[in-house]
């Protein structure tokens, strides 16, 4: 989630005017601080959805913060060990008469992010789910890299 420690994961398409320049500067400063913060990896992205990666016995699990989207609107592709996550985020606008914004911190727009996975995964067995604005992608190990149990028998 885009919080105090992390810059917003969403890119804003195009910039116009002095306030955007200020906003961009603020984001850059935020990025610098987030890079300096412990436990947050560098390149923790500023303009793209924030991700976490886990490893377990079955393989890898990637989670990404993508509030307000639909699973159908997300694109996932795997090329070797490169996983690409893309989509477009739309945000609601006020309807009715005499509308105005007091704050605009959420950023709509297209995004595309490629992650180099630390190991080979089985493209056929990838499973994605989406809940409460968090995408979870389960990436089982490729058969060739799965650890094999070696039976030790006493003889």
């Amino acid at each position: 989630m885009n919080w105090l420690e992390l810059p917003s994961p969403f890119v804003r398409p195009g910039h116009a005017g002095p306030w955007d320049a200020l906003e961009r500067l603020r984001r850059e400063v935020d990025d610098l601080f987030s890079r300096a913060a412990p436990r947050v990896a560098p390149g923790g992205a500023g303009v793209l959805p924030a991700i976490n990666l886990y490893e377990n016995a079955e393989g890898l699990v990637l989670t990404a913060e993508l509030p307000g989207m639909k699973l159908e609107e997300l694109e996932l592709s795997l090329d070797g060990q490169r996983l690409t996550l893309g989509g477009e985020r739309r945000i609601a606008q006020p309807e009715g008469e005499r509308t105005s914004f007091h704050r605009r911190e959420r950023r709509p727009g297209k995004f595309r992010r490629t992650i180099e996975l630390p190991r080979e995964v089985d493209a056929e067995k990838i499973q994605a789910s989406y809940r409460d604005g968090v995408l979870t992608v389960r990436l089982p190990r490729a058969a060739s890299t799965a650890p094999r149990r070696i039976e030790v028998t006493s003889g």
Binding site: M1, N2, W3, L4, E5, L6, S8, R39, V40, A41, G44, A45, A50, I51, N52, L53, Y54, E55, N56, A57, L60, V61, T63, E65, L66, P67, G68, M69, K70, I91, A92, Q93, P94, E95, G96, E97, R98, T99, S100, F101, H102, R103, R104, E105, R106, R107, P118, Y130, D132, G133, V134, T136
Partner: protein
């Protein structure tokens, strides 16, 4: 020799600051600040907040003395995910506070949390609604 040092914590502003710091220090982990959009139309104030990983059970929304508060915690990381190997975000508590200049009708507030986005519709109290004044020739 006595030094007359004005202790900084004696000023009300400092006191408030240190109280806030104390309160926040009692929380384990960071206090996050979700992104929000706040808009208004003739009839209502609308707030959208990005709250990925937050379920309705872990979200509190309040309106008291014209101050709107949104706070709660994200779902803790499930151990079933495995060992973290790379992290750009983490779970924890979050909070935002806003002072509303409009008078709100509390009985008609609607809050919806869907796919990690909170939508709050805060209808303006009747007498605070802006009215178009018809000018006739």
């Amino acid at each position: 020799m006595s030094l007359d040092i004005q202790r900084p914590e004696a000023t009300p502003a400092r006191r408030a600051e240190s109280e806030l710091a104390d309160r926040e220090a009692t929380r384990p982990g960071p206090l996050f600040r979700p992104d929000v959009d706040i808009a208004e139309n003739a009839d209502e104030v609308i707030v959208w907040a990005d709250l990925p990983g937050v379920s309705t059970e872990r979200l509190r929304v309040g309106l008291e003395d014209g101050v709107l508060s949104i706070d709660g915690e994200t779902e803790p990381e499930s151990a079933s995910l495995g060992t973290p190997v790379y992290a750009e975000y983490r779970s924890g508590a979050f909070q935002r506070r806003f002072t509303l200049s409009e008078r709100i009708d509390p009985s008609r507030i609607r809050a919806t949390l869907r796919d990690g986005v909170l939508e709050l519709r805060l209808p303006k109290a009747e007498r605070h609604r802006s009215r178009r004044i018809e000018v006739t020739a």
